[in-house]
Symmetry: C2
Subunit: 438 residues, 2 copies
């Protein structure tokens, strides 16, 4: 008699978070938040729907044309589900730019949507930690952001050698493309993208894709190699490089040496990070593991984020870290702990006439901060109740039967050790707190 049933599959490219998945997500978000809050950043949020206009004006062409979840609402407004948080952030900061005490330190963990072909590690929705600081024009903001970005990985117990921070400056790249290579502006982005890909392709692929774009390949290729092999000091020897930008990152590099993370930080002139968006310092953090050798996250400085909404100028620096990327990193480096249910208890209901005593004990325990799930079926045999508690992941089980009630006691079973002790009711709270470590 099976009538036609709806599919239980979720919408393509999305995830259902069952309790064990949600526990992992919560652990990841809480760990990130703790670090960000320890630097004085405050959480914000905005609606997941925004007017299409702000993405048309701020997001890249590819996002708007191919990846947006946009539609006309019932009131004829053209809206979109947010593909990124920055336009919302800019809108909110612009609305109160004059009132917010500076520096403005904000973070958020929004759910973001892009219509993409789902594939390995590429979903249509993800969460992304966004951290931004506004109103500091000196390199001290870069130092704080890099330090914070590294501390997030350390908070997950990532070893020092598990990642590298590579930084550059948009002004160095721009001056190299424009002044040193004398590319027409229409070729600059194409060449930049090839430089960015260098470590993912073979040398001959790299060179052949460049040759299509270069006018004086011999001379220009030499300059490109000189550029890519330069360090913070030697990059200035290349003709046409913007000196101010180099001085800025020299100052950053000099000052970050105060911190022990500086060992993990290096100049990499091939870094790009969104061609149109950033205007100053840029950085990217890479996994060093060979199986997951990819960019984890990155960010940079933008000088005119709120310009679309306001005449005020406000320089900021920020980064975004996606939950799927982070999860891959944590898996690769075996940094995900086992989540156990060892600080709460499962309380049996030995028969239905004991419901009052059982409910009242549960209330008492909860009042004392001891999370207590109870069996609601007194017809179930003890063995069945124990096996349910085990399936639910509990280590500790309390038995309150007629004998225990007579003796003013409770039996505490440790399902992991297969042991049990009898505890007097008057001592139950203290004993339990000790056992559960709360």
């Amino acid at each position: 008699m099976a009538d036609k049933k709806l599919s239980t599959a979720n919408y393509k490219g999305t995830r259902d978070f069952y309790p064990e998945d949600m526990q992992f997500r919560n652990w990841m978000f809480e760990t990130m938040k703790k670090v960000v809050i320890s630097y004085g950043y405050r959480e914000y949020d905005g609606p997941i729907l925004e007017s299409l206009d702000i993405y048309k004006a701020k997001s890249g062409q590819e996002i708007v044309d191919k990846q947006l979840y946009d539609f006309i609402d019932k009131g004829e407004r053209h809206v979109a589900i947010r593909p990124e948080m920055t336009p919302t952030l800019a809108r909110m900061v612009a609305a109160r730019a004059r009132d917010l005490p500076r520096p403005i330190r904000w973070f958020s963990i929004p759910n973001l949507w892009r219509y993409e072909a789902p594939g390995h590690g590429r979903l249509r929705e993800h969460w992304q930690l966004n951290v931004d600081i506004f109103g500091v024009n000196s390199v001290t903001a870069e130092i704080e952001i890099i330090s914070l970005a590294c501390d997030i990985l350390f908070a997950f117990n990532a070893p020092k050698d598990s990642f590298r921070v590579k930084f550059s400056h948009r002004g160095i790249l721009s001056s190299f493309l424009r002044n040193t290579l004398s590319l027409g502006s229409e070729k600059e982005e194409a060449v930049a993208k090839i430089l960015d890909k260098k470590n993912k392709i073979t040398q001959s692929e790299f060179e052949s894709s460049l040759l299509e774009l270069l006018q004086n390949p011999n001379e220009q290729l030499t300059l490109i190699y000189q550029y890519l092999n330069s360090d913070v000091d030697t990059v200035l020897q290349i003709p046409g490089i913007n000196e101010e930008s180099v001085r800025y990152i020299q100052e950053f590099y000099d000052k970050i040496k105060i911190l022990e993370i500086s060992e993990s930080v290096e100049f990499d002139p091939s870094i790009i990070r969104g061609f149109d968006y950033y205007t100053g310092f840029i950085f990217e953090i890479f996994d060093t593991n060979k199986e997951n050798k990819r960019s984890l996250y990155g960010g940079g400085r933008y000088d005119n984020l709120i310009g679309l909404f306001s005449n005020e100028e406000l320089s900021g620096i920020g980064f975004g870290l996606g939950d799927v990327t982070l999860e891959n990193f944590l898996k690769t480096h075996k940094l995900i702990p086992e989540f156990k249910r060892e600080s709460s208890v499962y309380l049996t209901l030995m028969n239905n006439s004991l419901l009052s005593d059982t409910l009242l004990l549960a209330r008492e325990l909860r009042k004392e901060g001891i999370d207590t799930e109870i069996s609601l079926d007194g017809n179930q045999k003890l063995g069945k109740q124990i096996s349910l508690a085990e399936k639910k992941g509990y280590r500790y089980l309390l038995v309150l039967g007629e004998d225990e009630i007579k003796n003013n006691s409770v039996v505490l079973k440790d399902l992991k050790e297969s042991s049990q002790i009898i505890i007097l009711k008057s001592q139950l709270i203290n004993e339990l707190k000790k056992v559960l470590g709360i």
Copy 2:
């Protein structure tokens, strides 16, 4: 030179959560979560986009026709932003119905969207705590759910007399409409909706709207008043009332007396809660304050939630509590605390040459669990830095100047008391933890 700027207004009917709003929201959610977790419920989540089909099949006609944010995605799938969580919950439970250990105790705090005319307390998006238990067929599940629902309000320090829980049973209402009043099935819902509105309209409005629907008004009105004035015992004297349903709520009423919340709980036969959805026990919690005398939240038992997806039968009981409704309740009863920044510090940067010392001190404090925001501008005078710290809501400020570095000390300013003490660096962590209460 003001060129045309985009509006900083958010999409109509939505909210921007600036840090102070977010702090409130986080406090509200954390308080609710703590209670629900203390009963052993586990958090889940699903995607905010679902196939339109599941709302067509499960949600009321009004939602689907007028309130859905639905659209065709770039792959020609008809999808909708979730207007409620229950269809997602049913889909997820159905997908794993055989593997999940019972009772299944789940909760979520999803963001939900409905296209409505925005007005006082009516937005297009809100968050809603959803709590559900599946797989318990006895009244013990009702007792747990009512107890949990009340404990949420108590966790916000709501006084006992600030709310009342009114309960009934779908079977009592149905048998009254069908057997007692002998209404045709097409009139049942209309009459039920008038009964539900009784306390919001005058008696003459109540009667005149009923008269349009009744065939033997004299006789039927008498029965309606007898019904509305009945209690758990006298309701059975009305001819045609379903006895099994009455026995069920009598058992509930009898057993809930164990708990002190029973004083706040009463039978109310006019309760409806979604005409098509619930199949058994139903309840609604009302604010008792005259200025906000409205339903806060409610729920009930449904016998076949997963039936659309699965042939398995699984009875559940649950409720939903919206953040806007709860916020109104908390405001009306003055239950919202002041959120202060008194457990973290603001660290000054006295001049730019002290950047190393300042950064290192901040890192040390954070490592010890002391949240530390630092000034990043050593050119700002102390007075300016203090006033910024105050604007950011800090009570405690640390000054690390050249004198302090020489003397191995730090100055701790209490901006609320306008006092300061000098602390030796070796004692700083302990002293600060005492002052900050961490």
